[in-house]
Amino acid sequence: MTDRLPEGDAMRLVLPCRPDYLLIVRRTVREFASMAGFAPAEVDDVVSAVDEACANVIRHGYGGPTSRPLAIECKNRTDGLEVRLRDFGRHTDPQQLRPGATKKRPAGGLGLVIIYEAMDEVNYASKPEGMELTMFKSFGTERSSGDGS
C-alpha cells in the first residue's frame, strides 16, 4: 500500500453546493484519507463526517441547493488529518452546532451526532461571510463504542 502522505500536504476541492456533488466529495475525500494512512474504518469515519457536514451546509447554511461554492480542504498532519469546510451561507451560533443543541425535526438531528462521533475535534466558527468548520481525526485511535448515548 501507499506510504503516508508528506506532512503539510493539502488538497482543496471546490464545488457548487448541491446534493448531486456529494458523491464526488465522498470519492475524493475517501482517496485522500486512504492515502493519508488511515485504516479502512477510519477512512469511513472521515467520509461520513465530511459528507454530513457538506449536507448540512446545503440544507442549513445555504437553505437549499445553490451554485454558490463549498470549499473543502484536507491537510496531512504528522498525527492525523485536518479537514476544513468553508461556506458563504448564513451565520449560526457555533454553540448551537452540537448534537442535541437544537430541536430536531422528526428523525432528524443525526448529522451532528455522526460528525462528532466520527472525528476527534470539531470546531465551528463564524466568518465575516459564512461559516468555517475545522475537524481533525488522529491516526490509529479506535473510536469508543457508541453505547454511552
Binding site: A107, G108, L110, E117, G146
Partner: protein, 119 residues
C-alpha cells in the same frame, strides 16, 4: 454508484433490496418506497442492505421514520445484510440498538406471519 431500489414479496413480507449509496441527493427515493409499503400496512417490511455501500443521516432518518410508521401500524420492520462499513455508520449515529438487525434474509423474513425464507 447510483442508487437502485427493488421491492419484492416474500410470503406476506415486503423485501426492499437497496443497492449503491443512499445520500441527501437520493434518499427521497427510498423514502417514497418505504412510505408506500408502510401505508399499505404490510405485516412485515424488510430492508436488504447487502448491496449498500453508503448511507448518510438522511437515509438513516428515512429508516427511523419507517420504523416509527410500522410501530404505529402494529406491524414489523427488520433490516439485514449490513456490511462492516454500514454497521460502522449505524454505530456513529448510535442506532445499533434501535433496529431489528438480522444476519440473513431467512432470519429477517422468518418473523413474518406466514412468511417463508428464500435463501
Amino acid at each position: 454508484m447510483a442508487l437502485k431500489i427493488n421491492a419484492r414479496e416474500v410470503g406476506s413480507a415486503a423485501v426492499v433490496d437497496v443497492t449503491g449509496e443512499v445520500d441527501m441527493h437520493n434518499s427521497p427515493e427510498l423514502r417514497k418506497v418505504l412510505k408506500r409499503l408502510v401505508g399499505a400496512k404490510k405485516p412485515l417490511i424488510v430492508v436488504n442492505m447487502s448491496g449498500l455501500d453508503y448511507i448518510d443521516s438522511s437515509g438513516l432518518a428515512t429508516l427511523v421514520e419507517c420504523l416509527q410508521g410500522t410501530m404505529k401500524n402494529g406491524t414489523k420492520f427488520s433490516i439485514f445484510g449490513l456490511n462492516p462499513r454500514i454497521k460502522n455508520i449505524f454505530t456513529l449515529a448510535r442506532l445499533e440498538q434501535v433496529f431489528r438487525i438480522c444476519e440473513s434474509e431467512s432470519e429477517a423474513v422468518g418473523a413474518a406471519p406466514g412468511g417463508k425464507s428464500e435463501g
